[in-house]
Amino acid sequence: MHATRALSVRSGDRHAVTPSRALDHLVTQVAADRDRTAFVALFDHYAPRVKALLIRGGASPSAAEELAQETMLAVWRKAHLFDPARASAAAWIFTIARNLRIDSLRRGSPSLYDLDLNLGAEDPAQPDAILSGVQDAAQVRAAMRSLNADQAQAIEMAFFQEQTHTEISQALGVPLGTIKARIRFGMMKLRVFIERDKGGAA
C-alpha cells in the first residue's frame, strides 16, 4: 500500500495533481508505527530534492548530500512533531533542512528557528496565526503558478541567496525597489489566492 503510493508520487511530473496528502500520510505513519517502508518512500522522494535545493543555495554536492541525510534522520526522529493540520510534509521537511543548513553555517550559535519546527506540537493555541490552506501543498503550488513570471522568480530566488535583495537585484539587473515590490505583491497575491480558494471549503 505505502509502496504503491510512493511510486505514484515519484513518477508524477511537477504539474500533475500531486497526491500531496499521501506524502503527509507517510510522515504520520513514520510517527505512529516507526514505519521503515514509509520512511524509505519519503527518503526517495525528498532527499534528492533537499540535496538539489541546498546545491542551488551554494552548498557543495558532498555537503548538500550530508545535510540531506541529516535532514532525513531528523524527519525520522521528529516525525511526532509533524502536524498535517499546520503544514504539508514538503513545508515541514523544508523547515528542517533550512534549520540544519543555518546551524551548520553558524556552528555554536544558538538556534533561532527551532521554535518554528516545534510550533505545531507545542503551540496549538494560536489559531489566528494559521493561514488556512497553506497545509495543502498542491494548492500552494497552484497559487505559485497564478503569479506572473517576475513575481514568481523574485520569490523563488529569495530561497537561494544570502542577502537576498541586493544579490537578486544585481543578478537580474533590476533595481532593488522593483525586486522588493515584486516580492511584496507576489506574497500578497498568494495570500489572497489561498484565502479565497479556501474560503467556502472547510
Binding site: 540535496k51 554536492p61 548530500e65 538556534s111 533561532l112 518554528d116 520569490i155 530561497f159 506574497m187
Partner: protein, 212 residues
C-alpha cells in the same frame, strides 16, 4: 492586510527562507515571538518553501547513502544543544533568551546598551538598548540596517508610538531620535550596521570613549 509595525513581506520571506542575515533574523524572530499574528506570513512563506522544494529536479543520491542512513536510524541522538549560557537572560523573549550577553554599558543620560554576543556578521550586530522614561535615544547610524523590536515599554517617533512587539525598519537617511513615552524604561533589541553616532555636543565629547 498590509503590514503595520511588522517586518515587510520580503523580510519575512527572507527570514523564512533562511537567507536573511543572522542579526536581522534575530530581531525578526523576537518580533514573531511577541506578535504571533505575523506568523500568518511566515507560514505562507514556509508553504512556498515546501513548493520550491517539491519543484526541485532531484539530485541523485547513491543507494548506499540511503542504506547507511537506515542502519543509523535507531542509534541514540547526539546530546541536545548546550545549556543556556550563564550571562543569558531567561526573562527575555525567545530567541534572545538563549544568547550570552555583554555587560550593561552607560551610553548617555538614561541610556544603557549591552551586546548580544555571538551575533556579529561583518559590521552588523545585535544589541539591547534600555532607555529611561522621557529620554531620547541620542543615537543613530547613517549606514545600512537598523532594525528594532520593542520588548518592554514604548517610544514615539515622527511615525507614532512603538510598543511591545512593534518592529521598526529605520530609514538610515533620517535622523532617528525616538523618545520613550512609557512610565517604565523602554527595552529594545536592535540590529545595527556600522558605527552609531551620538549627535551634538555630547557625541563630540564622548566619541573618543564610547564605541558601539
Amino acid at each position: 492586510m498590509s503590514l503595520r509595525r511588522q517586518p515587510s513581506e520580503e523580510q519575512l520571506l527572507a527570514y523564512t527562507a533562511g537567507t536573511l542575515s543572522f542579526p536581522e533574523a534575530i530581531v525578526v524572530a523576537t518580533h514573531l515571538s511577541l506578535r504571533p499574528e505575523t506568523r500568518a506570513w511566515t507560514e505562507l512563506a514556509t508553504a512556498v518553501g515546501g513548493a520550491v522544494l517539491e519543484d526541485q529536479a532531484p539530485s541523485p543520491i547513491d543507494a548506499g547513502v540511503r542504506d547507511d542512513l537506515l542502519s543509523r536510524l535507531d542509534a541514540p541522538a547526539a546530546p541536545q544543544a548546550a545549556a543556556r549560557p550563564p550571562t543569558a537572560d531567561a526573562a527575555l523573549p525567545a530567541p534572545l533568551d538563549r544568547f550570552a550577553l555583554g555587560p550593561w554599558r552607560w551610553l548617555g543620560p538614561g541610556v544603557q546598551v549591552r551586546d548580544v554576543l555571538g551575533t556579529k556578521v561583518g559590521d552588523c550586530r545585535v544589541i539591547l538598548l534600555k532607555i529611561a522614561s522621557g529620554q531620547s535615544t541620542p543615537l543613530h547610524t547613517h549606514q545600512g540596517v537598523e532594525l528594532t523590536c520593542v520588548i518592554d515599554g514604548a517610544y514615539e517617533t515622527h511615525d507614532g508610538v512603538f510598543a511591545r512587539g512593534d518592529f521598526e525598519d529605520a530609514d538610515p537617511n533620517v535622523t532617528h531620535q525616538p523618545r520613550v513615552v512609557s512610565k517604565e524604561p523602554c527595552l529594545c533589541v536592535a540590529a545595527l550596521d556600522g558605527q552609531i553616532r551620538l549627535p551634538g555636543m555630547l557625541g563630540r565629547l564622548l566619541a573618543p570613549f564610547v564605541r558601539l
